[in-house]
Every structure is written in structure tokens, then in C-alpha cells.
Subunit: 379 residues, 4 copies
Amino acid sequence: MPKKIRLGILGGGGDSLIGILHRVASQINDNYEIVGAVFNPDIKESIAFAKEIDVPTDRIYKDFDTLIEEEMKLPANKRIQVCSILTPNFLHFPMALKLIENGFHVICEKPMTTSLEEAKILQKAHEKAGTVFALTHTYTGYPMVRQMREMIKKGALGKIHKVDAVYYQGWINEIIHDKKKRSTVWRLDPKKAGISSCMGDIGTHAFNMIEYTTGLKIKSLLTDFNYLYKDNKMDVDGTVLIRMGDHVKGVIRSSQVATGEENGLGISIYGEKAAFKWEQENPNFLYMLSDSKPTQIYKPGHAYNSKLSLEGTKLPPGHPEGIFDSMANIYLGVAKAIRGKNYNDGEFPTMTDGVRGMNFVEATVESNKGGNVWVELEK
Amino acid sequence: MPKKIRLGILGGGGDSLIGILHRVASQINDNYEIVGAVFNPDIKESIAFAKEIDVPTDRIYKDFDTLIEEEMKLPANKRIQVCSILTPNFLHFPMALKLIENGFHVICEKPMTTSLEEAKILQKAHEKAGTVFALTHTYTGYPMVRQMREMIKKGALGKIHKVDAVYYQGWINEIIHDKKKRSTVWRLDPKKAGISSCMGDIGTHAFNMIEYTTGLKIKSLLTDFNYLYKDNKMDVDGTVLIRMGDHVKGVIRSSQVATGEENGLGISIYGEKAAFKWEQENPNFLYMLSDSKPTQIYKPGHAYNSKLSLEGTKLPPGHPEGIFDSMANIYLGVAKAIRGKNYNDGEFPTMTDGVRGMNFVEATVESNKGGNVWVELEK
Amino acid sequence: MPKKIRLGILGGGGDSLIGILHRVASQINDNYEIVGAVFNPDIKESIAFAKEIDVPTDRIYKDFDTLIEEEMKLPANKRIQVCSILTPNFLHFPMALKLIENGFHVICEKPMTTSLEEAKILQKAHEKAGTVFALTHTYTGYPMVRQMREMIKKGALGKIHKVDAVYYQGWINEIIHDKKKRSTVWRLDPKKAGISSCMGDIGTHAFNMIEYTTGLKIKSLLTDFNYLYKDNKMDVDGTVLIRMGDHVKGVIRSSQVATGEENGLGISIYGEKAAFKWEQENPNFLYMLSDSKPTQIYKPGHAYNSKLSLEGTKLPPGHPEGIFDSMANIYLGVAKAIRGKNYNDGEFPTMTDGVRGMNFVEATVESNKGGNVWVELEK
Amino acid sequence: MPKKIRLGILGGGGDSLIGILHRVASQINDNYEIVGAVFNPDIKESIAFAKEIDVPTDRIYKDFDTLIEEEMKLPANKRIQVCSILTPNFLHFPMALKLIENGFHVICEKPMTTSLEEAKILQKAHEKAGTVFALTHTYTGYPMVRQMREMIKKGALGKIHKVDAVYYQGWINEIIHDKKKRSTVWRLDPKKAGISSCMGDIGTHAFNMIEYTTGLKIKSLLTDFNYLYKDNKMDVDGTVLIRMGDHVKGVIRSSQVATGEENGLGISIYGEKAAFKWEQENPNFLYMLSDSKPTQIYKPGHAYNSKLSLEGTKLPPGHPEGIFDSMANIYLGVAKAIRGKNYNDGEFPTMTDGVRGMNFVEATVESNKGGNVWVELEK
């Protein structure tokens, strides 16, 4: 095992929640060392934060362009190998593009870009560069999500007939019901947040969860968005009818005004032989249903699990691992890829997932605008 | 309290599941006595069954018309007061109509009729007769369903913004995947079962649950049905986007091919202040969610419950009552109505629910046929 | 199938909870008809109640002795066949004894008697009479309890090593913390309630559940009781260490001051191969655990269940049946026995269970009084 | 915030589960840097492991004594500040003692020592040294465990009357049922594992959980151990009756042969006003029960939680944190203490907990050996 991978961080300073999630995840399996960063737009704050978390301050840069410039001057064996992009959404694309073009590997928060067009530009650059690119659909790192994927691949459900995914949250309620708040928060400002709030922020996770676990591609969709007040028409709720092939249908339910729901991502997959049900808030319990046999509860760490699932579990059964561990599993897969080791194609979401995700979000907006009509996704 | 109400039974003989459900429900609160019946089309079987359950055989009739004819000859104080219609769907309408026209009270299994047109004819007859008519949407009899209704009425959720109801079952799988079975079973034969399988049989319960608990009316819907094999195009799965007013939206999910699901009726109702979640398979646990307070679990029999809920609970908290008790609560409400006593308008589903239900089923079929377009429900 | 069994009721008038439980249970499977009763000590109230529930008043007797006297004058084919004893505890023994001696079958509420001595007298009389005697340990009627018993009998758990049963309730709290209430309620008065409150009332159910499901006999026990106030030393809480054979041990936990617990009866049984976990408040979910396989959830009504379990389920999977249905299953077994039909020895608790139960209660009291020492149960 | 605390590690090399748990926990809040270690008894393996996890190899020592010797030569501002002891049980005491006597802070795995006598020696040395000492009862780091403690302290339950703690596991089954395995595994060899297996390994966690959450001290106990085979009499199961004051009683249930149980630590605490129920395998759900109000589910991250709970939660509600996060919270408290910052006395278990724990284990053995008699714990 070579030395730790040299990691750069863009964003994630101060009390950033996403910051601590990525930092901890990078450290859990002893694979990464933070060597450079632009934690904050303000270089002073950035340096102060570096000191707080005891990262050397000599490679804390004043801005992203300086980081690229200075790092490129370093010899390859000192240079940042991979950058995690944790900045506001609209910066994902330009940063990722420049990093890719300069030969850096990239770990990028979602949404990958603000449009499908950007996503495709990124995809082309990435194909050319041949570097590693990971999109942090964090929830695919859970051992039982991976277990679903592997069992479905091996035919445990038979032909899939129906998929039902949900992502319900309630936290935006306190903003949406306050006229002042809803008119000032960046998330509900289309200029800053992009074309969609609910679908872009959380619906896309549910979409990715379906494609990740089932291996099916969503071919077309029909969407109905909702908003609560006429003075702010950003979607805070939406339901998406989906079609994945002949007689394979489903639904994606997504809401930010589902009062009292905390982080209610879940999926149910119904096949000819059996079904899976899983919920993010109880991530270590995977239910397998059948019409004629007792429901089975799969849990992490047991020998009956797949290799992909077991690699994502550090302790014996009954020791709950959570979302930090899930993200850590994604970082683990990226580390393998950077080191050129064999890795399973389910170990981290890729550029392809990012392009699909943007295609999905744009299609839902188009369907809704068009009066709730069917829109095809690209193949 | 007068003597027991004289009850007639149409259908429900032999091993009929619905038969035992209604019989037990009628007996639970000591309000009814079965005095006459046509349990089976075959009079011999009908009489044998009467003996088996120890019902006097002198008023077991050879057919429905004879029952009416003979009962009408009896003095009012001997005559059947109320008839429970448990026959195959297409018989509900003619039987109910004739019963109503002859002054009998009626307890009718759902679907009330096979079309909205029939439903309206029935409604007119019923308005004229002024008798009691109950439609057995059994699940509205559960104490915690009633508790939702009462608390919502009192404003516990504030303005409702989103409703999500589901009814998933998997039992039809073994039929649908067998070419011979799916071509012979009456449920999947449009000539016998009517225009819809999944939506008519179970989706309508979810629809009714929404209107019962929230007090809101669904104004329009958009539906996508699914079937699995080209040789049988009856809907065995369908998702319905619903609108209940300005910015009040929701979804009804319904499937008979949700493998491993047993009787998965459930509802989530999200309001400005709080939310309710309830599932039929754990009927005694009602979850009330809020963004800022701990989730609360309401259970039956506690003094904190509403009168309507408490009247539907016979034992102290912690003694599970089930679906027989739920149906018994509906029979209890009907008994009060027949006896001219005050009763709450939530004690049993009425003719109005039946008309609404048929309107719903027809609208889903129309929406699906029309290419998944919005269809208005009648006001 | 012969005519309904002629049932007499002793006690259970007015708002009696146990009254409605037995009445409904007797009616659920169409096997019983109430023909005579002493519902209340006051004959007027008794008759009024009979009218209320529409039972003929001609065989409502002024007291128990009169009931025996008058019924014995009737020809055998008119006479009450079986009596349900729902009176206060101290009356169970004299009533049961006289009924048995006069050839009546008996369904008796628990505790069967107020002492082991009485229990043995009853047992002898019963052996002589050869009639049917059932003790209503209601919870053994649940389909999933029966399923445990049958699977254990067939070796599903292998050798059992450990048993853990619990019965926690909190309802006595409001009495115990009120000095006046706790000094006046009959349950906490040793003269009226007998030697034990908590162990006699609910601990005995947990004891019976262990012996019913495992087929093992508890050989010895060590008990520590608790009470909260010095002015009332009746046990309201107690823990019992139990031994069932070489290296087979366990614990019975029982409390009436377990605040917030409603009717928390449960059992966990750990064997060499697998384990069962079951809780009364979710009676339709039986968990089977193994060290190396996914946990399985058994539910009622599936073909994979045993005959004994399936006979106690009336509707398809997913239709919750509750405690009324559980008691009805016991009445169903008694009906089979009275009619001389084959019945499984697990269909209703018998005289043997009653004797064991009294032995258990007395042994816990003796152990506690003796300073928490081991006490042997009789073989 | 000063630089990272210099951490030394004793044990925990290779695939050690406890190793990764401590390493990750030390990194989660950016407070520690591993600067020295004896990961393995074999220096080559130790160095190889250091390389694998990218720890500098210059301070990887051949053994513990060398570590002390060499580190003491370093200036105070380079020297290891705190050592984590992850070695086999019998080494905890000598290592901790020497570390304390040389002025190092200590984080020690449990059991703290192999006897109460050793524990007291350690305690004296620690009092003299005035350094920081933490015992890793990991489960006290969970936010909802801390929430219980804080709410109980503020009187949320009123006077506590009954406590029921459990720790059931099944993993030893595969060893115990194999004659060869059970005669060779160190855990079941009293010479290596000490006087107790089940009580020392897991029962002590349940004991600590009671004292941590309730603030009560267990005064006396009565224990019954169990073993399965005569050729190995180490306790693999045991039940402990406990007394915590006048009329305050409870039970600790502990088993390593509870087939299918994974890591089943849980606690129920019943007070005059309300009760708490919590289970380690669903650590983010805390149930608060009352006799008259709906059960409440407390979850981490909400503003309604106490400061101590909130400090142990990094992400918003609904993002499950697990056992690594729980241990990280303990490391966070230790970091505060080492840095001389204010910290709450519930932030990490201390020397006092270690002494209490050894007292508990010895008392259970004494009670069992003495024929299940009451044994007093020291005050």
C-alpha cells in the first residue's frame, strides 16, 4: 500500500456540514491526507480554519485558480492528486472542468452541474483525460444498498416490474411559510439554485438510487411539481411517473414540505420472485419480501452478504455504521481507482451518473412546464 | 335499547372471507341478529350453511327476488330491517336498488356499483327513500383512522399541503404470471370485473381514505396504469397524481403486483403544522410528526383520543383490536343510524362515498386511456 | 355440525371488559349461544343487561346456586352445556368446583383459584368428571404464539438454552401513587386479591407463555418482589430467575409500575439453532433469529404456517386479527372438545395449566418471603 | 484551538476491529494525530502496519517499555500526550499504571483491569497524577444515551422505580457448541480472560449504562450465571437482580448464547412520571413513554435536545450516525479535558466507572459462587 493520497478541498470550511462529512470520510480508511485547500472565499478565514483542523497552511490558497496554478508548479509526486468540490452548486462545473483538464482526479458533490449541457461538456473532457471522477451520491455507499444491487444483479428478484422511490423532507417548511425567508434564501432563488429546488436537490438522489440498485435505465417520465405560494414558484414538491421498459413502471416521490420527515429517502423494488424495501434512516436493515415465504431482514457484516457490501462494513453485525461510513465507502472506492487497483463498478457513482442526473432534473422541469407530459430521457 | 336489529345476508356463504367478516362484525356489539339470507345461489347449499352457523332455515330463500317478495309479506316488526350485500360486484347495484326501493336499509360491499351512472341512480333512489345506506370501506372503522379525521378537523395539522396514500398487494402475482390462470380468473376479465382491477378493488380504498381523513375533495387526477402481459390488459398496477385545491397535491399508489406486500394500505398527510402517518398492518399505531418536536405515537383506548376513536375501542390500551373490530365499528354506526340515534358523520361510509368512489375509478380509466391526461372529478 | 353449544355466563355484566371479550369470542366462529346467565349480583341489573345484549331473560338467575339448581331440572338437551366464569377471583374456585361436580363444562378466567390447594381439589374433581375445562390464558390463542409452539415441537430451535419472558404494564401507577386509592382498591388488598398482585395477575401469563411455547417445565425459581410504599406491601413488580433443566435457565420479568407500558407481554426463546421473539402488542409479527441467516418475519395466514396456527386465522395475510380473535380461537378449541371432535392439545389451556400457574404464584411468594431463595415447583 | 493532540496507540494492529474504531474516532473531530505506537508484539508487523495506515515509522517501538523510555526522552512538546490501550485485557492494568505514573493521559479499553484490587491501585495512582483517564464504554457516546442522562437529571422521569438493562449476543454459540473451540479460545479460558466471560465482557456495559443514564448507584445484587457444557464452566449467560435504594429495583440480563442477537444492548428506565426505552441497534431513536400521553420519539440533532446530546451530533436530523461517531464523541470529550477546557462530566467514562465496573463483575461472580446470594457493592 503506497502512501496516503494527496487530497485537496474546495469549500467546506467553517461549520459546513458537507465539509465535515467529506473530511471524516476521507480519513476513515486511512487513504487520504489533506495537503491543500481553498476552504473559504476569504483567505484569512481559510487559513484560520486550516489551523483549527490542523492542516498545514502553506498550501491554503486564496482562490481556486491560484490553487491550480501553484499546484501545477509542484512535482507530480507532491502535487494534489484529487480534489473534493464542496462549493455552491454553480461552481461545480467550472471547477471540475478545469481540474479535469489539468489532470486532477475529482470527487464532486451533487448536482454535478447546473445543466445537462454542462454535464456533457464535462463528460467529454473526462473521457479525454482518463482520470477518476466520482459524484457523491452518498447513499449508494451504504452496505445494504450495495447488497440490493448485487443480489438484483444475480437475479434474486427475477424480472423487476415496479419501482417506488421516495425522498421526503420537511425542513424547508420553516422557510417556505415565511414570506421574507422564502424570498431571500438562495435555494429558492432560480438564479442561484438553478431550475429546480426539490427535484435537483433530493429527487435526483431517488432517481440515482433506482438506477444504481436495479441496473435499469429510466426511459421516460411525467412530472407534476408543486409550490405553496404564488410569490415563489420553485418546486418544493414533485411526483414523477417513470417508465423503464415494456411494462416496467414506477414512481419517484419527492418533497421538501413533507412536515416532520427528516431525511426520508427510501426505495421499494418489486420483482417477479421477490422484493426489496430499504429506508435511509434505518440503513442497516434491508427487507426482502416474497409472496410465499417469511420476510427476511438482511443486516451488514454477515457472511451471507456480497463482497461489495462486506467491504463497506468495518465492524461485526450489530454495530451500527452510518452516513459517515457510507461516504467513507465511496472515498475507499475512489482510492482504489486512483491507485489503479481493481474496483467494482458499484463502488462510487461516476460521470455517467452525473449526466443521467442532470438529464433527469431537466426532463422533470420540461414535463412539468409542458403540462405534465411524457418526456424521454437520453439513452 | 330495543331488541337486536333484524339482519339479512346476501352472499357470503361457505368459506367466503367477506362472509365471516360481516357476520362477526354484526355480532361484536350485540346489535344484530341474522334472520334471513340467500347465502348461496344454490338453495341447498344455502340451507346447509345456515345450519352450520346455526341460523334458522325458515327464512333462507332460494334467491334474492324471493327474499324481497316474502319479506315484504311479513309485518314490519318481523321483517328484515337491513341487508348486507356480499355478492359479486355486478350484483351490488340491482340488489341495492331493489332493497332501497322496498324500504330496506342497506350495508353494501364495495365497489358500490360497476359504473358512475349506476351509482347516481342508486343515489337518487336513496335520497327518495331516506333509509340508511352504508358502504363498507372497512378501514375507516379503525380507531386511529378516526382519530386522524377528528384531529385534522380540529386543525391539528394546519392547512394540508400534500397527501400520499398507498395500497400495495402482491397476491395476484401467482395468477398473473400463469397464462392459464390470468385468462380465466374473473377478476382479470373485464366482462365480469368491470373496467378496472387494481384501481377498482384497492385504489378506491386509498382514495376514500384520503377524503375520509382529510375532509378534502380530490378535484382532478392523472393516472398511469400498468399490466404485465399483452394477453391481459387489465390494470394490476397504477399511480394517480391528484390535486385537491390550490397547491394541494398528492399521489395515490396502488398495485396488485407489489410482490410480498400483504395488505399494504397506508396514508401520510402533511400539513403546515404537523403530519400523520398510518399503516393498516399496524393499525393501532398512529404517528404524528412535526418539524420541531418529537414524533408522537397515538394508540387506541387512551383518554387523549377523540370520542369517535374511543367509541371504536372496546378494551384498554395495549389489547390489539383488528379488522373484525374495525368492521364492527361500522356496523355499530349503522345500528345507531337505524335506531334513529345521533351518530357522527364519520361512523360509516355513505352513499356519497360510493358515488365518489365510482367517479374516481372511472376517472382513472379515462385518464389512462386518454394518454395520462388530467381528468376532473365531479363536484 | 350440530346446533350451537348452549353457553352460560357468570359475571361479565355491565361495562365489564372481560365480559365483552368472552361474549364476542364465543360468537366469532358461530359455535355458541348464550342461553343463561348471572351477569350481576343484582338480578335486576342482570336482567337489564340481558335485555341490552338481547339475551332471553327467562334463564337469567338471581344467583349462581339458583342457576345450577334450575338448569339441573332441565332436560340435558336444553341445559347449559358450558359455563364461562368471569367473576372476581375468589369465586372462580367454588363456582368451577360446583359446575364440574354437576357435569358442566367450564371456561374459567385466570387465576383459576386463589391457592394451589384449591387448584388441586379442582383438578381431582375434574379428573373424576371427565368434562372439558379451559383456562383463558388468552394470549395462547394468537396464531403466531401457536406457530412458535409447533415449530419448537418440530425442533426448529434445537435444544433451548435460554428463555426470557416479560409482562410489563404501567396502569397501576395512578393508583399506587395515590395513598387513598392504593389503600382501597381491591387489587392491592391481600384479603380480596390473594397473596399476589403483579405475579398473580400478569406474571402468571408470562410463566404460562413459556411452558406453552417451549414445552419445557420450569423446575425451580428465585424471586424478588418490589412495592413502592410501606403502607402497601403487595407486589407490584417482581423478577423471577428460572431453571428448566440442566443448564437451561431464564428470567420472567413482571411489573405493574412500568410506566407507559400498556400490555407488554413478550417472549424470547433462544435455542441451539435459532431463536424466536414475539410481542403481544404486535401479535402478527413473529421473528425468527439465527446467527448466520437473515432474521425471518413469520406472519399469520401463510401456507408456511402450521395447521394449529392457520386454524386460528380467518382472513388472508395482512388483515390484522387481534385479541378478540385470539380468545375466539380458545373458544373454538373448547367447542371442538365439547363436541368430542379431535383437537390439538395446544388449542386451549387446561386444568394442568391452572395448577401449574397456582404453583408458580405460590412459589414466587415463598421465594420472596424466604429472602430470595430457590423454590422447587412440583413435578 | 491548539495543534492536534499527540496520540500513541498500544495494540490495535492488523485487522483489529477495536483498532479501526479508535483510529477513526480519534480523527473524526480533527483533534488527534497518531505519532507513536506499538501496534503489534512483532516490531516488523508493527512497522508494516504503520506504513499501511501511513503513520510515520520513526516512533513505532518494539514494545511498551521501550515506548515509555524513548518518549520520556523527548521534550514535552513532542512527546505523546495520550495513549490508547487496545491490548488484551490482562495488559490494561500494567500499561495504564505505568502510563499514569509517567504523566501520560490514558484512554483505556474495558475491562479496565482484571480485578477490583488492580482497579483501586490504578485509581490511587490516577488521583496522585491528576491526568486525564477515560474508559471506553463506547455506547455512552451516543447522542440519545446522553439525552436520557440529561433529561433524567432534570427530572423528566420523576423518581425512578425500576430499571431493566439487557446485553444479549449470540456470536459465541459457534464456539461454545464445538468442544475443541470452546477448550481453546482465550475468552473461555479463565487463566487468560479472567473470572468472567459474559459478565465481564458485556454485562458490565449494561451495568455502566444504568449508572450513566440514571445517576443512581447499584447497591447490591444477586446473580445466576449459566454455562452450557460441563467441560467449560465460564459464564456465557447471567441474570442479575439489582437494588438501587429503597424500593428501587431492577434487572440486568446478559447473554452470549442469545442466538441471533447481534449486539443487543438496551435499557428501559421507569419513573414516576415517564419512562425511557433505548436500543443500541437503533441508536438514533429514543422512546419516552407515559401512562397518559402519546409515546414520544426523540431523535438526534433537533433543537429540543440537550447540549450534551447536540454536541455529539454532526449532521442535521435524519442522517444516521453510528458507533464510530459514538466513540468519536468520547474522544472529543477527552480532547477537551486534555486541553483543559470545560467539559461536562458525562462526556467520557472515567476511572470511577472503571472501579465500579470491576466491583460489579466481582460481585456477580461472588453472588453466583455463593449460591445466588445478595452481595453489596462498595459505596
